[in-house]
């Protein structure tokens, strides 16, 4: 199967989708990437790191 079959899974030949908010205009794709980066940043701070021992408080 050639890779062009995969291209048919997503509509790639339509106009791009955009978000408008006053003077701010951003494509949905770029907005999604920014949201994912913010999510990854927050997860990187709060997700427990494997192998890290919990610090015992008040000792």
């Amino acid at each position: 199967m050639s890779l062009t079959h995969f291209a048919a899974l997503l509509p790639l030949d339509t106009l791009g989708h955009y978000l408008h908010w006053h003077f701010i205009q951003i494509s949905v794709a770029n907005f999604v990437v920014i949201v994912l980066m913010v999510f990854t940043f927050i997860a990187a701070i709060f997700a427990p790191f494997p192998g890290r021992r919990r610090r015992k408080e008040n000792q």
Partner: protein, 208 residues
């Protein structure tokens, strides 16, 4: 050769200086402070790994040329590998830079580490841009004809002509990767020289 002659040689002096600046145990340490065991520290090396894939896949594209990457399925695959590693590179770099920003990781004489990061970021944007206009398809035609007015308005168009495919390709595959690799190398060496920045001190609790 006498002892003092050896002492005065530039090779001796340079070696001593390098070893003093970056002894082997600092260059390749075996342990790190406990605060480094957090996911936020993983993004620098993720950026580095993505950059390695970008360079490797770019070299494969250069080997076979546009007829190959536009028409064969393996060519499409390597082209996609190049694009998606760039996406991961920028994604990881942005999370890395947010992390370093909120840690104020320029503290303690690490200003040059931060600044090499900033310049690498700007260089990478230019590298991505010249990549987009080097695709040699309708997308690159559209981008370059849109960009030319903006760049000409700054006056830079006299030296950096986005409609000149040859020039854009040379910037993309020679000058900008070279700059990105050198800057990244410098950045990582600076991190090793200075060591990982310690966290902010917690305010001292006074017991009553």
């Amino acid at each position: 050769m006498t002892y003092t002659e050896i002492e005065r040689q530039w090779t001796t002096r340079l070696r001593r200086r390098f070893v003093r600046l970056l002894p082997p145990e600092k260059l390749l340490p075996d342990t790190q402070p406990t605060y480094v065991s957090s996911w936020i520290y993983v993004f620098g090396v993720t950026t580095l790994a993505a950059l390695a894939v970008v360079i490797a896949s770019g070299c494969l594209l250069a080997l076979r040329g546009p007829q190959w990457w536009h028409t064969s399925s393996v060519g499409h695959f390597v082209n996609s590998l190049h694009l998606w590693s760039v996406e991961i590179f920028f994604f990881a770099m942005v999370v890395h830079l947010w992390g370093k920003y909120f840690m104020a990781a320029w503290r303690g004489g690490r200003a040059l580490t931060w600044m090499t990061g900033v310049v690498t970021f700007l260089t990478s944007i230019a590298a991505a841009f010249t990549g987009y206009v080097s695709q040699s398809n309708f997308d690159s035609q559209w981008i370059s004809t849109q960009a030319k007015d903006g760049i000409n308005a700054t006056g830079a168009g006299a030296y950096f002509n986005v409609l000149n495919l040859g020039q854009m390709l040379m910037w993309h595959i020679v000058l900008l990767p070279l700059a990105a690799i050198v800057l990244t190398g410098l950045h990582v060496i600076l991190v090793r020289v200075k060591g990982v920045v310690p966290p902010f001190e917690e305010p001292v609790k006074v017991s009553q």
